[in-house]
């Protein structure tokens, strides 16, 4: 592994962690698609700021773009507040318009603007280490690393300082308001944070994949834990892991690093979706299957108890009869009887006649009284 490769991976990890932190609250506050809107419309802010400072690495670019992000949030709310369109439609109206203006400005002044829309949309992490911070002739490492580390620190500071406020406004906005926390203030502060993060990260991974890094790791973490603090930690870890795995996938395929990082973030979500111990699809299916078996056992013992000692017991309490009485398939009835025998709930005497054991009788009585 060369030095440059190490630097790229370090930047990737920092970007992924910085994106995952605000992403947690985007997912929980059901505002995931605001990241979509913001990350697209910051193009306009970048172009406008570029016209003023004519320098792609100026911090003013970040300020301008972050302001456009807030403008997007405000315009979406303004449109939504008219009550003429729903919020999703408002998002769909606002960001394409701002993005279009940005694209037109770039196309129109293409001669004077050395801004590559591809780079804005897709980013190119492989080139990030070539822009370095030089002070007095000394090399202080890649600029992107500094910028993203600063943004990561900012995110950590914001979330730790306003943890209580964020948590309350996210889960119980009414309570937050009654405690004197302004949901609007927290909202705009948080949106500013999202905008700044999106602007910082677009340079490395492009504006569309910022969305992947903001949403996929928190969505995966959301399926793995119920605690906000562990969800934040898990998100950052999943993001960083996806960044590293994505880097090596890109290396293997000679493909876009950002695209591979997003792919791996998606894979991480897919694993959580399928195999999360509590909420995964597999766990759910298994739980459902075992509940079905458990329920069938109870049906069986109740049925046997019901006819126990009665005249028709010899007729009713036979394995061959179960499928007709309980509407089970013969195979399923056989299986349930076998399991019940193994658990010593029933005994199978000659001629398929079933008899309850003491344990089976207890279970049936318990199931009936509860």
């Amino acid at each position: 592994m060369t030095w440059i490769q190490a630097e790229i991976q370090l930047i990737a990890v920092v970007v992924a962690a910085a994106c995952a932190l605000p992403g947690v609250f985007l997912v929980l506050r059901r505002m995931a698609l605001m990241s979509d809107a913001i990350s697209h419309s910051i193009l306009l802010g970048i172009v406008l700021a570029f016209f003023i400072v004519e320098n792609l690495s100026s911090p003013l670019l970040i300020v301008g773009a972050a302001l456009t992000g807030l403008l997007t949030v405000w315009l979406v709310e303004l449109t939504h507040r008219t009550r003429l369109v729903r919020e999703d439609a408002a998002i769909g109206l606002v960001f394409p318009a701002l993005f279009s203006i940005g694209v037109i400005l770039i196309a129109r002044y293409a001669g004077s603007v050395h801004l590559d829309i591809d780079a804005v949309l897709l980013g190119e992490l492989a080139f990030a280490p070539f822009q370095r911070v030089m002070i007095g002739g000394r090399d202080f490492g890649p600029q992107a690393l500094w910028v993203m580390s600063a943004i990561l620190v900012l995110n950590v500071l914001f979330i730790t300082m306003f943890y209580k406020e964020l948590k309350l406004t996210t889960f119980d906005a009414a309570l937050a308001a009654s405690l004197g926390i302004s949901p609007a203030l927290v909202h705009y502060g948080f949106m500013a944070l999202v905008s700044i993060t999106a602007v910082g990260a677009f340079d490395a991974v492009g504006s569309i994949l910022v969305i992947a890094l903001m949403i996929a790791p928190p969505a995966a973490a959301y399926l793995l834990t119920d605690r906000l603090s562990s969800m934040i930690g898990l998100s950052a870890a999943i993001g960083a892991g996806s960044a590293l795995a994505g880097y090596w996938l890109a290396h293997l395929l000679d493909a876009s690093i950002a695209g591979s990082m997003a792919t791996m973030a998606g894979v991480a979500f897919g694993i959580a979706f399928l195999f999360s111990p509590e909420r995964g699809v597999v766990a759910l299916a298994r739980r459902r299957a075992s509940q079905r078996l458990e329920f069938a056992q109870r049906m069986l013992v109740i049925h046997l108890l019901n006819h126990e000692g009665s005249a028709e017991a010899a007729e009713e309490n036979r394995v061959g009869h179960l499928h007709r009485h309980l509407r089970w398939s013969p195979a399923f009835a056989q299986r349930i009887v076998r399991i019940a025998e193994r658990r010593e709930l029933v005994r199978c005497e000659e001629a398929e006649a079933l008899e309850l054991t003491n344990r089976g009788r207890e279970l049936a009585q318990l199931a009936l009284t509860r």
Partner: protein, 381 residues
């Protein structure tokens, strides 16, 4: 090139004619069918589908080696469809909400597509599928064959939508009722989603991945303001889409370096803003006028009642009062309100800022007091 020359070329120049025709067809397809998405609160599903289509384009090219637009569009449709089904599955199976599921599928599919496309670009055979073309769209290079694909896929999608019209209507407005009628609403959902997928992928080559969201949302959101009827809304939405398509194509032909896709989107935005402000009944201007009118009505009634109450303290029910005495009660612009009352024949101006209630004014005041009493206002009885 000026606007008039561009308009002349619309008739004469075959390239511009093709581009305009294609943009118009696209507007009809994505606008009209997008109306359903807007009604179903799935406005951004179009955005997700368009992004999710990217890996389909890459895979179609990888598997067939063909750059035939029909092959690529079908690949895009397959991936977009898969993405939408995934969104539905995630929302149904987990506690993750729709916005997160949409954003997740949108961005991850796009990432996979980007990875595949860059992988293709670096391969020795090096025939690229034209990433830029799908990212931003290239309406200017539209050929007649492209237009034909838009038209035929659009006709197919509309035919399906018309065939299932009643079911789709139920799905949009009252899915529970539909389910109680025994209609498999989930299957209808899949059908409508497939129609939407077609509406999205036909536009990818023209306006690009990012801006397709506007092609789906803006015409529907605009049309919604003008009508409450689904059929009218779909037709209007398609018409808005077509208008913006032609306008965008012509405008982008007037000047150098005005890309068509963004111009179409800006035209759509203008239509949407105009609809939100001007549409009768729902529009903001109308709401504002209505609010002003009702505020004035309230002020007029309040002043009338004030005058009535003040006069009631004198022997003479027509006793005159000055506007200053009324203004002391704080009802805003009293002199103007008194003029308005006079115009209705409820007050009389007795000169030197003295105003008195007329016979009609007293009757009106009594009527209002009765109304308030019946209306349940207890404290003024």
């Amino acid at each position: 090139m000026s606007l008039s020359i561009a308009l002349r070329d619309l008739l004469l120049d075959p390239t511009l004619r093709t581009v305009s025709l294609g943009s118009a067809a696209l507007g009809v397809v994505s606008g009209g069918l997008g109306a359903f998405a807007v009604l179903r609160k799935q406005s951004l599903l179009g955005d997700a589908i368009s992004h999710a289509a990217l890996p389909g384009i890459a895979l179609a090219f990888l598997l067939t080696g063909s750059k035939d637009p029909l092959v690529l569009v079908l690949g895009a449709a397959a991936a977009g469809w898969l993405g939408t089904l995934l969104v539905m599955a995630i929302v149904r199976q987990t506690r993750i909400k729709e916005d997160t599921a949409l954003g997740l599928v949108l961005s991850v599919f796009f990432g996979v597509g980007l990875m595949l496309l860059t992988f293709l670009q670096h391969r020795p055979d090096a025939a690229q599928a034209g990433l830029d073309r799908f990212l931003f769209g290239q309406a200017a290079t539209m050929l007649q064959r492209d237009v034909a694909i838009i038209v035929w896929l659009g006709v197919g999608a509309y035919a399906v939508a018309l065939f299932f019209w009643k079911e789709i209507k139920l799905l949009a407005f009252d899915p529970e009722f539909g389910a109680s009628l025994g209609i498999p609403m989930r299957a209808v959902d899949v059908v409508l989603t497939s129609v939407l997928v077609i509406a999205v992928v036909v536009g990818l080559q023209t306006v690009g991945v990012v801006l397709m969201a506007a092609m789906i949302v803006a015409p529907g959101a605009a049309a919604r303001q003008w009508t409450d009827r689904l059929g009218v809304m779909v037709v209007l939405s398609g018409a808005f889409g077509a208008t913006a398509g032609v306008a965008g194509a012509v405008l982008s032909a007037t000047g150098a370096n005005l890309p068509t896709g963004p111009m179409i989107v800006l035209c759509l935005t203008a239509i949407a803003i105009a609809s939100l402000t001007l549409a009768p009944n729902r529009g903001l201007v109308w709401a504002w006028v209505r609010q002003r009118r009702s505020r004035r009505q309230l002020r007029v009634e309040a002043t009338l009642l004030d005058l009535y109450a003040m006069a009631a303290q004198h022997e003479d029910p027509g006793h005159a009062h000055s506007s200053r005495a009324l203004a002391a009660l704080g009802r805003g612009d009293v002199p103007r309100t008194l003029e308005q009352l006079a115009a209705r024949g409820h007050t009389r101006h007795l000169g030197a800022d003295q105003w008195a209630l007329t016979q009609e004014g007293r009757a009106e005041a009594r009527r209002l007091l009765d109304e308030q009493r019946v209306g349940g206002g207890g404290d003024d009885a």
